[in-house]
Symmetry: C2
Subunit: 327 residues, 2 copies
DNA sequence: ATTTAGCAATCGAGAAAATAGAGTGCTAGG
DNA sequence: CCTAGCACTCTATTTTCTCGATTGCTAAAT
């Protein structure tokens, strides 16, 4: 258990390090506290023994360890009010009634990435309630055809197919068959249904069914796939912990990797903080994220930055967005 | 006018520098040529006076200047055959008949970025022949509606709108009006037509027309806008000329900038090479690009890399792709 | 008229040494 | 329990030194 004084020393060190990114020495602390630097040093030593602080070398100031940050966010962090300008910028997005949810999320996280210099990720998991609403086809010319699929919740996906010897009649027949058989099916069950129920049927009624089957398979796969959007990736470059080209390469490739979906995805409804090794993205970053869920949509929004992150500010911003979109 | 020997020295220096990124000294050259290093040095001095070579400091080897690269690509470069593996990889894309043109372009430039370690840009300008084919709406629920627009050439765009007190009837009426009035209009004339011909009409027949008008305006804007796709951006990090964080920041922000569209766009049908200051993207890169045009689509494909670029290889690859997609 | 051998001069890159300064841990006294 | 004082440690920076690559020039050779 930490004493009151130890806590305030830890807090000061974390805050100072977040601000200046330089190891914090006893002198700086003792000026703010009413005691000598030797006293502070003794306390620091104890905090180090507890694993909350670290030194970069024998005679350097102290830097918070992951455990130190953890203690800070769990016990010490104070959530301040959002500043007026930030709220104002975000409100222009939330008040724009012409935007769809996905636009609102993208734009508001762009703003956040902008004002915080961190990177954001928006993960659209797509709700399980999402059902197939309608399939339609628009012939473009005698050879080409656009297949359009719309779901219950307003997701749209489309694909162009080239008909090699398939007549428009047959296409229409296929579309009708599929419409009759699977409208109303939840999107994540469509693949299976398409293969085991639809394929045999259209194989019977339609010549050249492979082309059509594949096209539909693609559109459905596309619409049921999760989407990832990484915003403000270049902000990575603004932080001195990522000033080494190899590290930059490393992080950029992780942000581009499809595995990011699994690594970011969050089902918990709180604002969750994963510091360093606690997250699956990269041991040198902190990920702050939360799940969002509206009647039409669900997913995860996340902010990624260095462990030396402005924790309270980011938590506040995420919380604000979450509340706004969940209404 | 350069002598035969000067040309082969310049050529060797460029090739060597492209390979090793280190200033090239006289010793290396004189081993390949049948003469002494002093002779080579004399020639080098002349090439430097002509502005074709540069030194990084008084006693360093030589590095090609922009003018030197220019002379190289104009007069010295030999176009070799593509190697079998590269052709094979690209063929798997071109032979996949299920892919649309845009997919083919993206995938083949992904392959090129991969094997060359350069960055590619695909610019889809959209053909002027692209005309509006059909507008349709799919009601998602009582409040929400998907507007889908398809063009002549198979481009699709869509947007969800929220109807605040607009009845489905009115929407259908609007859609019919628009369909009747502007189907067949080239997409780049749609905005104007929408504003000056359609707006007055729907304003007369439809209550709450603003919402609808704005939604349609958005979909049309979207479909007529040029698309940019930057592939292999992280490859920038692989070249030693971009090992400085500020330079990386600089280039990345230029690749993200919408101005890239204007800076890359190319109408000339050849494979064009813009070395350093010759291009509008960044003075430290070379851009090799060409226009492509098929019956359905047109735009620009470009490869961006350091000035010390593998010119012949990239020219060959671009040429190969251009020929493949133009059929 | 070229080409070449030889040589002093130049400069960068890297190692080694010197210096300054910030911060620590410990001890002894308040 | 706190603090003043001090020796010690380590980094970061600057300075100096050395090595080696490469050049330009000159004079002799072809």
């Amino acid at each position: 258990m930490l004493t009151k004084r130890q806590e305030s020393i830890l807090k000061m060190i974390v805050n100072e390090y977040i601000k200046l990114a330089k190891p914090v020495g006893s002198k700086l602390i003792c000026e703010k506290l009413n005691c000598s630097s030797a006293t502070v040093r003794n306390e620091m030593m104890q905090l180090e023994e507890l694993g909350l602080l670290e030194k970069t070398h024998t005679s350097s100031g102290r830097v918070p360890s992951e455990k130190g940050y953890r203690y800070y966010v769990d016990n010490l962090m104070e959530l301040k009010e959002l500043n007026g300008e930030e709220v104002y910028k975000l409100q222009t997005v939330f008040n724009n009634s012409q935007l769809e949810l996905s636009d609102v999320l993208n734009k508001s996280l762009e703003i956040i990435s902008d004002i915080t210099s961190y990177t954001s990720v928006i993960l659209d998991t797509k709700s399980h309630d999402n059902k197939l609403k309608e399939i339609s086809v628009v012939p473009v010319d005698s050879e080409i055809l656009v297949v359009i699929v719309v779901t219950d919740l307003g997701y749209v996906s489309h694909k162009n197919i080239e008909l090699h010897g398939v007549s428009l009649e047959e296409v229409k027949k296929t579309v009708k068959l599929i419409n009759d058989l699977i409208v109303g099916t939840p999107i994540d069950e469509i693949s299976a249904k398409l293969e085991f129920e639809i394929k045999p049927v259209i194989a019977k009624y339609v010549k050249q069914h492979e082309i059509l089957y594949n096209a539909f398979y693609d559109v459905f796969t596309d619409i049921s796939s999760k989407s990832v959007n990484v915003v403000g990736k270049n902000n990575i470059l603004k932080h001195q912990e990522f000033s080494n080209v190899d590290k930059i390469k490393d992080i950029f490739s992780k942000l581009d990797d499809r595995a990011l979906i699994e690594n970011i995805s969050e089902s918990n409804n709180d604002i969750n903080i994963y510091i360093g090794h606690e997250n699956k993205v990269d041991p040198d970053v902190t990920v702050i994220k939360t799940n969002y869920k509206t009647s039409k949509d669900e997913g995860t929004i996340a902010i990624i930055g260095p462990k030396r992150m402005d924790y309270d500010r980011v938590v506040n911003l995420l919380d604000y967005i979450k509340k706004q979109i969940e209404g």
